[in-house]
């Protein structure tokens, strides 16, 4: 490029940049990215909300879901959702939340059935996600709800009925964050407390992984 052409090119470039940033400042756009077509979005838009938005047409019952569960889920979650080893339990725990050992399951803890549909559809079976058909997802969701005594075996789960499933812990959540919930302000610097006792020691428990660090 000759020197004069270079200068001319730069000048044009500067004008363009100025135009672009002016546009951006005015809340306008950089013109980057492509319009996403409905077909493109549909392939990835897999979420479902408590009000049913996002649930696709289709249906299934717990009776239909039993076979799916036994084949695709039971190796980790157990035949009745009781779990194998350290995999998550999917049943039980009712009335345990205020105890010293809360057992948080679909039945005892989850506030919405839509979450179960959404999660199974996107993430289960673990290691083969998004492999269940829509009907299989309705059926196996119904089966997990059935294992928790939340629907009958022949209850037809679909986009209309699912948002209406009564979840026992629906009102168990506090949506407003009440923190800070401990004293704030100028911290105490001297003579802040009386006698101090050691309540817990970690060494005797001996649960820290052995390794070069310990």
């Amino acid at each position: 490029m000759s020197r004069s052409r270079k200068v001319a090119f730069l000048a044009v470039a500067m004008t363009l940049v100025a135009a672009a940033s002016a546009a951006a400042l005015g809340g306008e756009r950089y013109g980057l990215g492509q319009q996403a077509s409905p077909a493109l979005i549909a392939g990835w838009d897999i979420d479902a909300r408590p009000d049913g938005q996002g649930l696709p047409p289709g249906q299934g019952t717990a009776a239909d879901g039993e076979a799916v569960f036994v084949e695709r889920c039971a190796t980790c979650h157990g035949e009745f959702g009781e779990a194998v080893g350290r995999y998550p339990v999917l049943i039980g725990g009712s009335d345990s939340l205020a105890s010293s050992n809360p057992v948080k399951t679909v039945g005892s803890y989850w506030p919405y059935a839509s979450t179960l549909w959404d999660y199974i559809h996107r993430a289960m079976p673990f290691g083969d996600a998004q492999s269940l058909s829509v009907d299989e997802t309705y059926a196996v969701t119904a089966y997990v709800l059935y294992l928790n005594d939340l629907v009958a075996e022949d209850f037809v789960l679909n986009r209309e009925s699912l948002p209406k499933v009564d979840m026992p812990n629906r009102n168990g959540f506090i949506a407003e964050d009440p923190r800070p919930d401990t004293p704030v302000g100028t911290p105490c610097m001297a003579d802040c407390k009386g006698e101090t006792k050691i309540m817990f020691k970690s060494k005797p428990l001996d649960v820290t992984p052995e390794g070069e660090s310990n």
């Binding site: 951006a24 492509q34 809360p102 959404d118 407390k193 006792k197 050691i198 070069e212 660090s213």
Partner: protein
């Protein structure tokens, strides 16, 4: 004690004292054998023979002598390593920046191996024009670089019911701090144009967990970034390569890795990660939901169980403090279990929503000490004790344990994780 004369005097007498203290003993990491051949007055091999040439290691790696400085996991915590966590070795780090290879990992479906040429970010829902971006598109937006800490809401979660893990790495290592580079999320949302009813976003990952979290729009427009770099290089695969959402100061689970989709809506989605998980059960059985901010916290990283006291005399106590509400204003250190406090020196820079390094000069005379640090941030929030936290939240919360850590320094120099009244 001031540094200077006292410190020199100590160093000269140090070797003799070492034998009686925790060096090499249980509780501390192995102390390497020394070899006289490498020390003065001898001339070591490395002063005589040529070393490796350039490019011997095209992507540099730490010295072989630092092989213990690694992330570590607690295998019994989880069913599988693909849905698991490991921990940053805070006890081995200096300053406030975490090296990329030491940033803790938390995955729910393993590390997605994403080809950046095929990666797409889709923005749709309550927008004027749904958009799909390539990585090249995203890098053409005006970039910004920011330091932010990232902490898992479950950091310290094992300690709610009592002192459990005898380690700084395992009790506090689900935090890291790097310099991120990317595009403000607001820029991308403006590009698509928000509809008036927009109030929430759903951010979704491209991994096998399809990780999803609802983010309120006010946060998205405030300081969220969509990042493609950390500490100057492209994101590490385990940190979400090629694209990650940053939600500064808020719990790490929301920082969606392998970010592929943002849907704009008018209510939260109540995904599994914001109902079944990342909700905090109180003593009465009710659970707090949408507890996003990571409150002020601090920990002493030396001494700690991995860094026992090997010498009497001068020792610079050091540690890290951070707050999701802003910048750290003050860190105090106690040697008597919280009865009296001494204000520590903050190393600079002190940045908002970022790890801050602190120091306190100390002269250890060999007595037993209950060592603690307490952070206060610019909003006046003060890090609570575990007793205070339990009083308001019970013991079953799992998440958001930002309590003061107590290290018991024994007369033999060993350091133990304890909880005190």
């Amino acid at each position: 004690m001031g540094p200077g004369v006292g410190r020199r005097a100590f160093i000269s007498g140090g070797a003799a004292l070492t034998a009686g203290l925790a060096a090499g003993a249980a509780g501390g990491r192995i102390v390497r054998a020394e070899s006289a051949a490498g020390q003065p007055p001898n001339v070591p091999d490395w002063s005589r023979y040529l070393g490796a040439g350039v490019d011997a290691v095209p992507y540099g790696a730490p010295s072989a002598h630092e092989s213990e400085v690694v992330r570590r996991t607690v295998e019994w915590l989880t069913a599988t390593p693909e849905s698991s966590v490991n921990f940053t070795p805070l006890q081995d780090l200096h300053g406030f920046v975490t090296p990329n290879g030491l940033c803790f990992e938390r995955h729910h479906g393993g590390v997605a191996e994403v080809d950046p040429a095929d990666h797409r970010l889709v923005i749709h829902g309550l927008v004027d024009k749904p958009l799909v971006f390539t990585m090249d598109d995203l890098k053409r937006f005006p970039p910004v670089s920011r330091f932010y800490f990232l902490e898992c809401a479950a950091n310290g979660g094992m300690e709610w019911r009592g002192a459990q893990l005898n380690s700084c790495q395992y009790t506090h290592g689900m935090v890291h701090c790097v310099q991120w580079t990317g595009v403000p999320l607001k820029t991308l949302l403006d590009e698509a144009g928000l509809k008036p009813k927009a109030k929430w976003l759903l951010a979704e990952g491209a991994d096998a967990a399809g990780m999803t979290r609802s983010v309120p729009l006010h946060k998205a427009l405030d300081d969220c970034l969509v990042a493609y770099s950390q500490n100057g290089e492209r994101l590490r695969p385990e940190q979400g390569y090629p694209l990650r959402l940053l939600v500064p100061g808020w719990e790490g689970n929301m920082w969606i890795k392998w970010l592929r989709r943002i849907e704009v809506g008018d209510m939260p989605w109540h995904t599994r990660e914001e109902t079944s998980k990342y909700t905090d059960v109180m003593a009465n059985g009710k659970a707090r939901q949408f507890t996003w901010v990571m409150d002020a916290k601090s920990v002493i990283t030396d001494p700690c169980p991995e860094n026992p006291m090997r010498h009497k005399g001068y020792h610079p106590i050091t540690g890290l403090a951070w707050s999701g509400r802003g910048a750290i204003k003050q860190v105090d250190v106690s040697l008597d279990g919280g009865k009296n406090w001494h204000t520590a020196r903050l190393d600079t820079p002190v940045l908002s929503k970022c790890l801050t390094r602190f120091y306190l000069d100390w002269n250890w005379t060999g007595e037993e000490v209950l060592l603690e640090s307490r952070a206060m941030d610019e909003t006046g929030y003060v890090q609570p004790s575990i007793v205070e936290l339990r009083r308001v939240r019970g013991r079953n919360s799992i998440y958001h344990n930002n309590s003061i850590q107590t290290w018991l320094v024994g007369a033999n120099g060993e350091v133990e994780n304890v909880q005190i009244s």
